[in-house]
Symmetry: C2
Subunit: 428 residues, 2 copies
Amino acid sequence: MTAVLPAKPEANLDGLCRDLAARARAAADALTSVRTDAKNRWLQAAAAALESRSAEILAANADDVAAAPGYGLNAAAIDRLTLTPARLKAAADGLRQVAALPDPVGEVREGGRRPNGLEVLKVGVPLGVVFFIYESRPNVTVDAAGLCVKSGNAVILRGGKEAIHSNTALHRVLAAELPACGLPPDAVQLVPTTDREAVGHLLRLGDLIDLAIPRGGESLIRRVAREATMPVLKHYDGNCHVYLDAAADPDMAERIVVNAKCQRPGVCNAAESLLVHAAVADTLLPRVAAALQAKGVELRGCEETRKRVPSAKPATDADHRTEFLDLVMSVKVVPDLDAAVRHINAYGSKHTDAIVTSDLAAARRFTERVDAAAVVVNASTRFNDGFELGLGAEIGISTDKFHARGPCGLRELTTYKYVVTGDGQIRG
Amino acid sequence: MTAVLPAKPEANLDGLCRDLAARARAAADALTSVRTDAKNRWLQAAAAALESRSAEILAANADDVAAAPGYGLNAAAIDRLTLTPARLKAAADGLRQVAALPDPVGEVREGGRRPNGLEVLKVGVPLGVVFFIYESRPNVTVDAAGLCVKSGNAVILRGGKEAIHSNTALHRVLAAELPACGLPPDAVQLVPTTDREAVGHLLRLGDLIDLAIPRGGESLIRRVAREATMPVLKHYDGNCHVYLDAAADPDMAERIVVNAKCQRPGVCNAAESLLVHAAVADTLLPRVAAALQAKGVELRGCEETRKRVPSAKPATDADHRTEFLDLVMSVKVVPDLDAAVRHINAYGSKHTDAIVTSDLAAARRFTERVDAAAVVVNASTRFNDGFELGLGAEIGISTDKFHARGPCGLRELTTYKYVVTGDGQIRG
């Protein structure tokens, strides 16, 4: 059975959303004393259920895929919407990986004893209720549920309307395993309507929901940031730079630029802009440009670039600000490292910026002055990712500076409290 | 000379505010490579200047104090506005204490080497530009400037209009020492107008300002939270509880409740509400109530309380939600620990809540389930304070969960970046 839910406006949407959030709040309160063992049991049980109940999930997904052309989805979007036995297995394995990660709840982050004998511990605790808004990739439903529950949060899931049958089936399968593992049944909820207004209603419930996480295009994120009455974990664009310093090793420079641009051009930590120190523009730039062009990259360069690479198109100011997510790269020759830093801080998106250099002072100055979530020396920008940095699975990459910066894994889904224990201390 | 600035509306207020913020932004960029030594030199020089130039500061303050009745300030507010040589000395000593604190910028918070040889460091960095909005306590001007500069942030100060002469003089003295210490002159700026609209203009500059910190009454904080386009560090009220468990030591219970309520009733970490387990209501409640009443505390209790303490007034539901900031306390008898936790989570303000118990399981359950910035066992709520918890001077106490919770010291005025260093690593 794949329950088809109404796309028509809900009569009592505000009441429905408030009830959803209130149940999440109660689940979050109960989750504060659920042990890691129980959460891991659920992750394992949910993974097994995704596999054993794959037929009903795939049948529901087939309904979505059949309806997708009617929503105007193109081939790439339909591919992202489509589940296969292999993709379900990968989602289940993702839950098993989350089970293996350390629990950030109860983690003592700092602690010690004060001169008066008070023991002060700074202890990781869940944020509470997370509202997760995403597009039509059903595997995200599984990832988000796993990360939120492991970090002790109740989650309200809101996927794209094009995936409603898949998400309903996935949610049914995941939630069915909660009670037997000793977890509150409302720890994972799905907004049970595709009414677009539901998002706005939920974003107004800052008294019940602790964090909103939008994952999708910039317009979705800006809408959520504008309407939300709770904090929002934002991931805007990744306009990432590679700067080739005067002291760059030429082989390393070519290898890193090609990898950063071409290995997976459609992701946020791919490089979009190349900066080259003027002292090596004659020697290094033609070589790196040729290597990029051999991979099919279209170059858009400044005047100094086009003197060395006549095949490059002229770059506009907008090109230097653009996250192409494609085999296109802006190129600029800069007089020195400080000019590179100024350009990055003015045009970049504070996501990931790299320098290639063998000069220690240059590396120190670049890492200190570039304002980005990750600053990389002599390696590809593609390493700014939760797995690659050692955080494990991530729920997103924050381009904000507040609370969490860069990849957000389990710990970034928590906050802390001070636990202060004494034996009768009072203040004098 | 005490420059009197216009209280009349500014003609080009938006331009003035944008210029102020842009200069702060440039100063913040320059601060990223200023060393701890230079910041500490400025803190020491500024402290010395506050003392050596006290005459001009006190003269400016006298102008404010003379004008205060015209603004309708009462005696307590005029006292907070008034500077004396001793208070200036205390402010200077505050700067010297900040100089002695460790620098959170450059602090490696985590780090290690990945299997592929990449070194990943999570390094403390400044937030950038802080907009600090406060009421008419001139010493706050000094404290905020010291904490922001030590944490590498440029600060825009906006004190109450009643303190404009004092703040102008203090800012002049503090800022005069910046260039000689190698710090950007715009690291500390004061909004150079008392025009009320300036706050609104600055709160719209989320592209230039990284954090707003309002310090004052709830209406100020709510206004800032509503209008701000940047994150806001919020400090709402402190409705703090002391819960006397069935296993509370009677002497300790009395000592802690009296201290939490009476030692300084006007501050946010003073207790406002007393909860007593029913099993000890007959024995413990009359004794603790008598001790409180002997200190002049007015009690407002539930029906069960009034059976044991007939002199208590009846408590309304609103009394249980109120931060009295005075010698008034609400009292409630609860059937068990879980009822105490539910009451605290429903009526409290997530600030500071204490339990008195000798029962380890009760202490564990209380600290785990109460959702507050600080949860205290067998000690006074009054210990939730930056100095008492070992963080050093604080810029405020956050009642939010996001970014920072509880006392916000130097580290809470920073964020982090990942610094990733390799020797040519690319992703496969």
